[in-house]
């Protein structure tokens, strides 16, 4: 049966592709559990002779990683909340209202979407410095409080929502804010959740801005923390891999729990 054979072949190929994609992760975990000199062999051992869980403890106690994680979580909490709020407000305004200056605002926001963060790095730093916020949590968080990408994503989402309910509430005499809080936001939860996920991942992954705006060890995020750990323990691969694995875990958990939303989010924004 050639059709059946083709189906099996396709399935095997799909599994093979997926496996190749996760090999680096498996390699990372395997190395993280080996001894420092155990990894320096040829041919490279595939699995540790005896898993050395102590690597994780040792690697994570050389720098205050608990602090780094706390910092990353705080930054993520602030940025996600702010981005979701600003995104919902802005997206709703762009999707529903007709107002003076609408064209200008739309063009400006679209323009902001095109400006890469790198270009703004230096002046943003100088502004944060002028506010006295370099090397503070406020400075760390400030630059990423609004995501214009998110505003447009939310706009797309609101455009796709029916507006009958809102109009009914307006007829009942509800003010615009009441409509937004009571009617629109609750029905937008799926969109908000998707956006929040992306915002969390982006915040967790961000390296350049935290690197530039913080100087003290106690304010470093996980990304900056493992980058400096990487510089310190260059020759010790198991330690490095242990640190890397630890940095991956939160994102991994979030991703595995919410994997469906990611697909939808990409499709919502990727194909406007």
């Amino acid at each position: 049966m050639p059709a059946r054979g083709r189906r099996v072949g396709g399935a095997v190929a799909a599994v093979a592709v997926a496996t190749v994609m996760v090999v680096p992760f498996l390699w990372m975990v395997s190395t993280a559990l080996m001894g420092e000199f155990e990894v320096l062999q040829y041919p490279p051992p595939m699995l540790p002779a005896t898993p050395r869980w102590a690597n994780f403890r040792d690697a994570l106690t050389t720098l205050p990683f608990a602090r780094f994680f706390a910092n990353s979580l705080i930054v993520a909490a602030f940025t996600v909340t702010a981005q979701v709020m600003a995104g919902a407000l802005g997206g709703y305004a762009l999707a529903r209202f007709r107002f003076a200056g609408q064209r200008a605002v739309f063009a400006l926001y679209l323009g902001a979407l095109m400006i890469p963060g790198v270009v703004l790095l230096i002046p943003r730093f100088l502004i944060v410095d002028a506010l006295g916020a370099v090397d503070t949590m406020a400075g760390l968080v400030s630059a990423e409080l609004v995501s214009f990408w998110g505003i447009f994503m939310m706009r797309q989402f609101f455009v796709s929502l029916p507006r009958e309910l809102e109009d009914a509430a307006r007829l009942d005499g509800a003010g615009e804010w009441a409509v937004f809080w009571r009617i629109v936001l609750p029905s937008a939860v799926p969109g908000l959740a998707t956006f929040a996920l992306f915002a969390f991942i982006d915040s967790w992954k961000s390296l350049l801005w935290p690197l530039v705006v913080t100087r003290s060890m106690s304010l470093r995020t996980v990304e900056v923390g493992i980058a400096s750990f990487h510089g310190l323990y260059y020759a010790n691969w198991p330690y490095q891999m242990a640190a890397a694995v630890t940095a991956l875990v939160p994102v991994l958990v979030v991703f595995l729990l919410t994997q469906r939303h990611f697909t939808r989010g990409v499709q919502l924004t990727g194909l406007r």
């Binding site: 396709g10 990372m28 007709r98 200056g101 890469p116 270009v119 609004v146």
Partner: protein
Amino acid sequence: MTTDFVTPARRVAVAVCLVWGLVVGALVVRTWIRAEDALAAQEGRSVAASFGPDFQPTRLPVRTPVAAGRVANVVRTMERQIGPAANRIAESERTLSLGRLWSRYVSVPVKDADEWDVVGAVVLRADWWRGVAIPLAVVLATLLVAATLGRRGVVRASEDVSTPPYFLVADAIATLTVGTTGALVLASRRLTEAAAILPPPSAQVRFDPLSLPMPGTRTLGVLLLGWCFAAACALFLCAWMASPRRSVAERRESATAWSFLAPSGVHLLVFTLGPLLFTAWLSLHPWDLLETSRPFIGLTNYRELLSDPQFWNALRNTALYTLYVPVTMVLALGAAMLLNQPLRGMRVLRAMVFLPTVVSYVAIAMVWQWIYHADYGLLNYLIRLVGGTGVDWLGNPATALVALMIVSAWVQLGYQMIVYLAGLQGIPETLLEAARLDGANAWHRFTQVTWPLLRPVSLYLLVTGIIWSFQVFALVYVMTEGGPARSTDVLVFQIYQQAWEFRRLGYASALSWVLFAILLGLTLLQWRLLNRKVEYAG
């Protein structure tokens, strides 16, 4: 039913709990600060002890971040005089003194004029809340457990120390999370090891750019902020005036819309539009560290940039780097078609392919650096297994950029695959069925039906992929630092290096504008190609 839940008694209970929590919190904060003071004094004493009985170390508790600027000279000389190899140790010393979690003190040794002997120590003290706000939550949570623990074991173990029990609790937590003594021992062992191994070029601890003060930006920044707000008002007024006479209802709707847009609008002005213009302004001035006067120099920065071979090198590398995008797209389309089969478990496979897209670049860079290892890396092992010869992937100027492109392809594949998947699922089954009835084979169905319908998707992926690849930084920063022989020096890394390592902010701003111009061109090209009109709300 739910209203019965919130009885007055419950409210009182909650209030009492809150007050109790606050009181305990305040107590913990106070004792914590005292404990830290005691520790700092102890630190000072141990420094003194190592220099003999009649030596008195300088102890200057000063507040950061102002303090960091004030003692920056000291810190700078220290950084300068020890050279790259010992710099590792200097960095780790700072680590050590910060090793106690959320420590409020940092002690930095002060060297004498010939920079040989340690003559004292400067103790920097952080703002109190910075050290306390975060641990407070942890402390409150652990307090109950820790207090019981403390009564049983910890107090007895150190009866000779006359410290308050809370200090012991705090120390127990610190030891649990960081392990003060353990970390100290471990770190000193690691240091010895690290010093013994000659560091490869990219292993140097990076020069801490922020240890140098950035002079004379305060007033300008405030002016800039003022400008931003003025611009916001002007914009708003213009919009208001330009619009034709409107009814009351329309005016009200406008006001509501603007109030909804206010948060993002203010951020746009302060952190995007203002900075963009500021970059332009900076690029017309020689904004360097050593030069305090900053006259208007016109396009000199741009002229220098155009005659700088390093800029052209970076541009060439960036352009070459973008070539990974089309290659990845072909792979992604293949993967999407494979993973579009109606089989069980496909979701899991898609998640596996998508996984690299979400995880952190630094971790990715680290694991790939290990995979690329010339002697013990997985990749060279596999190559040798099939009979090839190993390559020093990241150490060879000919292959370093290719190595980075492979990693980027691996990262981007999942994203592109998902987008293609959406495109594939958007193709009506009837079209494919009709083609099948017309006798088209699989290849023809692909070239005649699938591919033409996927063209917009492909274009979108191509242009956004190129735009993204122009902004690559983390991989370069961690894996190669632009080396070897500047073969992976890309534009963003140049900007970072010029601004934060050489402190040439004016020149770096000029670079930024060039990058911006390129990206703007690409974006306009995208719109043109996709022929998509901007749709307005309505």
